[in-house]
């Protein structure tokens, strides 16, 4: 095994990586960055500048859609954390050894069912002729059928549903690594339940919390199916705007601008989240 053979194999290993990252990730992103700075002034005639970005900020509908997407995504992330943590804690720490694997598997399997099927299930439950409405009417609790689709609460419930497993799985993995003796020591040294939770459990689970939050947030902000199917065609979701500009209106310049803005916004939130919690991408998301 000579030097040159060593070099050759390094080059052979490096080539697919470079092609993949270069051609399929970096170059396309530069591409939308480039097109977002371009403005059409005639057939095959373009000028360059920040005109598209200015147009975005001047148009309240665009601006508000991004803001709405942002706050709902953050809300969904927070809800998923609050709802998911007890479940993860139960699976990792309270459940008996035997039932633990089964419970975890029960969490994992729905994760692999398509978003489409899950959204479809919610539609069948919640629509005016849906299971819940029909049942309530036949039980005499309400007088006539009610439409439970196409409002923000439903969209949020549906989004939390779609992403919560991506919160629970990393949480369970981190919590499982925690030695029970840590908790016992915490109580033994006179900590109340609240202080043990705040000073021992949460700091220990931090990498899992951050990983879960990043994945959850990215999936929510980038989601398309759930908000549109549960929120109706005009649900004002930002990815829908991108689709409209790109495919329906064929305005690639504006669509790219929206894409860049969404990317900047999500990267900013992820970066801030990592910064505030002192974690890095490699210690959280890569572990999964």
């Amino acid at each position: 095994m000579g030097r040159s053979a060593d070099r050759l194999s390094l080059v052979l290993l490096f080539t697919p990586f470079a092609l993949w990252i270069g051609l399929l990730i970096v170059l396309p992103q530069l591409g939308i960055g480039y097109v977002s700075l371009r403005e059409k002034v005639g057939v095959n005639e373009f000028t360059f500048g920040f005109g598209n970005y200015a147009a975005f900020f001047e148009e309240p509908i665009y601006r508000n859609t991004l803001l709405r997407t942002a706050w709902i995504s953050i809300l969904v992330t927070a809800l998923a954390l609050i709802m998911g943590f007890p479940v993860a804690y139960y699976i990792a720490k309270i459940a008996k050894e035997r039932s633990r694997a089964g419970l975890f598997l029960m969490c994992l399997i729905p994760l692999w069912v398509s978003d489409l099927v899950r959204a479809y299930g919610w539609i069948l439950l919640l629509r005016e002729t849906g299971v819940i409405s029909t049942t309530l009417v036949s039980l005499g609790i309400i007088s006539g059928p009610v439409e439970m689709l196409y409002n923000d609460v439903t969209v949020i419930i549906g989004l939390v549903y779609t992403v919560i497993l991506f919160m629970i799985v990393p949480l369970v993995s981190t919590l499982q690594g925690m030695d029970d003796a840590l908790l016992e020591a915490g109580y033994n040294l006179g900590g109340s339940r609240l202080t043990v939770f705040r000073r021992i459990i949460v700091p220990y689970a931090m990498p899992g919390i951050v990983a879960g939050c990043i994945i959850t947030f990215m999936l929510t902000a980038g989601s398309y199916l759930t908000p549109i199917l549960l929120g109706g065609k005009n649900s004002s979701w930002f990815t829908e705007q991108i689709y409209t500009q790109f495919i329906t209106r064929y305005n690639w310049e504006m669509g790219s601008t929206f894409g860049v803005l969404l990317l900047i916004f999500t990267s900013l939130v992820v970066w801030l989240g990592l910064r505030l919690t002192g974690q890095s991408l490699a210690t959280t998301v890569a572990k999964e």
């Binding site: 170059l27 699976i91 919610w122 994945i215």
Partner: protein, 292 residues
């Protein structure tokens, strides 16, 4: 800890409610596949297999619904190709980052993870845009017309490959990290050639991870919607076909039948990948203890 008993019961009740929340939509999507009615809603009209097998008109079952079947065929085709490609690339990446030293390694590692945090829609539009720019350029300058750079299955494959490779790389690298390099040295020492070491020692060790990565990549590809939506051409995969049907035609129980098939299929595959990753040694330990 006084009161911890009741706390455990509160926990249990909560977890139970949570699992009902988790299961309810899946049950709703599944159950109506067997309802002998034209619509997937209550009341219950009796059990039927029609939505799977019936060939006659008012209830065209899944097996006779050509568009859904074609969509499923496309999805399988795309899924297998993408999974194979991303496992191959992921294996190279795993060896590159676990075994080799090169300049700017940590920066490139971050670059490798980045695709996980790019929204799927953006991956879709960026690949669509680049492919179109290249296609237009080739058309204009050389008069070459490349159909594969226009929306369609090749672009869907590229788009899904671009983020699935990150996932497969991480899964395979995690396993490779656990590999004891002394095993390779031992094989060399026993006279094996480099290629033989790879095929008889390293790859068999990696096999569970390769299998898992393949299954995960296949499932994610099969169920992908966001990236695919931007790149789809005339050969729509299943998720797009189902979505179209849902939005344009409205829900019919044949979609529920499809959902049942999807749930069973993905559930079984996911289970297989989980089991493949699990070490099987309880039996062996007991035997060793008995022999000592």
């Amino acid at each position: 800890m006084q009161g911890s008993k009741s706390l455990v019961w509160v926990f249990r009740a909560y977890v139970l409610i949570f699992f009902i929340y988790l299961i309810a939509p899946l049950v709703a999507a599944g159950v109506f596949a067997f309802n002998d009615s034209m619509f997937p809603s209550l009341p219950w009209q009796g059990f039927t297999w029609d939505w799977f097998f019936s060939a006659s008109d008012p209830k065209v079952g899944l097996l006779h619904d050509d568009r859904l079947l074609r969509g499923m065929g496309n999805s399988l085709y795309i899924g297998v190709i993408v999974a194979a490609l991303s496992v191959a690339a992921g294996t190279c990446n795993a060896f590159l980052f676990e075994r080799r030293q090169f300049p700017m390694k940590s920066l490139l590692y971050i670059l490798m993870i980045i695709p996980l945090v790019i929204p799927g829609v953006i991956i879709g539009i960026s690949i669509l845009l680049l492919a179109s720019m290249v296609a237009n350029f080739l058309d204009r300058e050389f008069g070459i017309f490349l159909l594969s750079l226009r929306p369609g299955i090749p672009l869907i494959v590229l788009g899904q490959f671009s983020f699935l490779t990150t996932i497969t790389s991480l899964v395979i690298a995690a396993r490779l990290q656990k590999f004891d390099i002394a095993l390779e040295e031992a094989a060399l020492n026993l006279g094996a050639s480099r290629v033989r070491v790879l095929t008889t020692v390293t790859l068999p060790f990696l096999f569970p991870a390769l299998f898992s990565a393949f299954v995960v990549a296949f499932l994610v590809s099969f169920e992908n919607f966001n990236t695919t939506l931007m790149l789809v051409g005339s050969d729509a995969p299943l998720t797009i076909t189902m979505y179209d049907r849902m939005v344009k035609v409205g829900s019919t129980p044949v979609l529920n039948a499809m959902s049942v098939v999807l749930m069973l299929g993905s559930g079984l595959l996911a289970l297989a990948s989980v089991l493949a990753q699990r070490p099987k040694k309880a039996e062996g330990n007991a035997a060793a203890a008995a022999m000592d």
